[in-house]
């Protein structure tokens, strides 16, 4: 490992004054994921560069364009942030249940049904209530439906022993079929010919942008959701109980923790976040519910959550990084004549390498807080 936040020399220097020790311990603990993550990204970029060299293009140009397209200008930063917004919420749909030891991969279903619910609930209210109240209705409807959908996977897991990974995946396919039925059938706007959609929201009922930015409010909602989830896991007794259950279910049950309720509750909260992502797609991007809701946010969210090691705060930078890679796809396609799948290859390479590097946790003494505790 080349990136090390602390060098051993410092500990000797600080050895006399005990006041530095807690800081060093804290740094050692925090530096491990950052250092391993950065090195993993470098290895992934190196492997991807080899691939780009093999097909006869310049990796340097590619990474320069990627930076320009993702973060090089205020315009591209805003583009990246817009793309990150739904990923924040769908990643939470994976990360929260993961703290209980559950692997939920069907967030896509909650996104899709949340979007449909949001689009459906506005129909009787358009023109009669102020937009802000309508957003509350839309958000609540989407969260309720998304929460029920993923909560069902959690419920089935605990009370019926059905594997939650598989049931959530099946539920996602069922959700997409339900969406198609609603959008083609009872909720279809007769004016939408080529792409069946629900009736579009009037312009004044669109969610709009954060003042001073060309980024919709979904980003704020996503960041708030991440911070709230972090607080739920780290600061509340529910989060504490969930972490115990995630570590050892039997121990949690012997302690008398309500494991079933925790699982149902956490999966429902997780699903409601994914549902909210669907509502934002409808209220801030699409303007109506249609097949574009199933754009794969649910599946990309799985990777964001795993890369963030299911830490809700780490989800924020990871989602923005992925949003940036995604945003740069068009520029790379235009300037270098590479297929739009180039960014998918890079993402895939990075994911594999970063997850592979999980194996390095705990292998380096430098990151062991005990090393810094010991008196010289």
């Amino acid at each position: 490992m080349t990136v090390e936040a602390n060098d051993p020399g410092m500990s000797i220097a600080a050895g006399g004054g005990t006041s530095f020790r807690p800081l060093l311990e804290w740094l050692a603990r925090r530096a491990e994921p950052v250092a391993i993550g950065l090195v993993a990204i470098l290895i992934g970029m190196a492997l991807f560069s080899i691939f780009i060299l093999v097909i006869g293009k310049s990796p340097v140009t590619l990474f320069q364009l990627m930076y320009t397209g993702g973060f090089g200008s205020w315009f591209s930063i805003q583009n990246s942030l817009s793309r990150a917004a739904p990923l924040l919420l769908t990643a939470l749909c994976v990360a929260l249940p993961a703290r209980l030891g559950l692997v939920i991969i069907g967030g896509e279903g909650a996104v899709v049904l949340g979007g449909v619910a949001a689009a459906a609930i506005v129909l009787p209210f358009v023109g009669t209530v102020p937009p802000i109240l309508l957003f509350v209705f839309m958000g609540l409807a989407a969260m309720l439906v998304g929460g029920i959908w993923i909560g069902l996977a959690g419920f089935l897991r605990h009370y019926r022993g059905v594997n939650e990974t598989i049931s959530s995946l099946l539920l996602a396919y069922i959700a997409i079929a339900l969406m198609n039925q609603f959008v083609e059938g009872p909720l279809r706007d007769p004016a939408s010919l080529n792409k069946p959609s629900t009736k579009p929201l009037p312009a004044e009922y669109m969610m709009g942008d954060i003042p001073g930015m060309d980024v919709h409010w979904g980003l704020v909602i996503g960041v708030v959701a991440c911070i709230a989830s972090w607080a739920l896991i780290e600061l509340t007794s529910y989060g504490f109980a969930a972490r115990i259950s995630g570590g050892n279910v039997r121990a949690a049950q012997i302690q008398g923790l309500p494991v079933g309720k925790l699982i149902a509750g956490f999966t429902a909260v997780a699903g409601s976040f994914a549902g909210l992502a669907g509502m934002i797609e409808v209220a801030a991007v699409q303007g109506s519910a249609n097949a574009s809701l199933a754009a794969g946010y649910g599946y990309t969210g799985i990777l964001v959550a795993f890369l963030a090691r299911h830490n809700p705060l780490a989800i924020i930078p990871v989602a923005i990084l992925l949003g940036g890679i995604d945003a740069s796809g068009g520029l790379i396609q235009r300037r270098m004549g590479l297929p739009d799948a180039t960014v998918l290859v890079l993402q895939g390479t990075l994911f594999v390498v970063i997850l592979f590097c999980e194996t390095f946790y705990g292998r380096f003494r430098i990151f062991n807080p005990d090393l810094w505790k010991r008196s010289q």
């Binding site: 022993g161 059905v162 795993f306 290859v345 594999v352």
Partner: protein, 308 residues
Amino acid sequence: MEETGIGIWGVPLAIFAGAIRVSTPFIFVSLGETITERSGRINLGLEGTLVFGAMTAYAVAVLTGSPWLGVLAAMATGSVFGVIHGWICKFPKVNDIAIGIAMMQFGLGLAFFLGKPFIQPAAPKLPSIPLGGWSTVPQVQAALNINVLFFLGAALALFLFWAFRNTRIGLILRVVGDSTDAARAMGINPDTVRLLATAAGGSLAAIGGAYLSLYYPGSWNEGISSGQGLMAVALVIFARWNPIGCFLAALLFGGAGALGPALQSIGVTQGYYLFYAAPYLLTLIILIVTSSPTRSLTGAPGALSLTK
């Protein structure tokens, strides 16, 4: 409808034909996943392997003119994906489910990237065997025009069912899958067995992809797979890790999927899109009915992370 003279009988016939046509990729992918999971590891990345296999098979078939060379090439790339997955997962603290999802993304990206030039040209198709010559009804003839790979898949299911029980390799695979420690005590290297099992699973999944691009629907594009690789994982659990069960589950799944189009052909269009959910709903209901919160699934390999 009236002219063909089979009327309402078109529905079961269409379901039968659809079951055979749609199920073939599911048979191969789920048999591949069964081999991998029987060794105690789960590869959730078969969707990527399948799509990459579809692309490879199509590209090689276009370039060489031989669909069978395409299938072989797909098998080779599929086993490479399996080897990568198997090698990475042997390291401690690496989550096989997460690596699977990442490999899926990688495989899809690479397939779309390399497959771009092959969307236009037409590839030769895999041959099928016309078994409906005795009938004069065109629908019956079409329904009985069955691809060779379907029969190969059926034979493979029978073979694997026999081989898991009666061969040394089958025994080794099951020991590794049920207990890593027991395998080590017997002098078997569990990591090597799992690597080979994942490679075998990958090459079978790639055959499923080759069927998609070289027979039905018989073209290469980025939407070639509708989640066959992901669904295979559900089918394997549904089939309780039994190869013959996989074959039957794939048929049931294919038949349920053909229900919507079949009913539409006789004029039932109400809830058309809901019928797309039929196979998934059916799988979910059977899983709910057969699962129990107090005992693990019968037939589940003991070392499998999915069922712990």
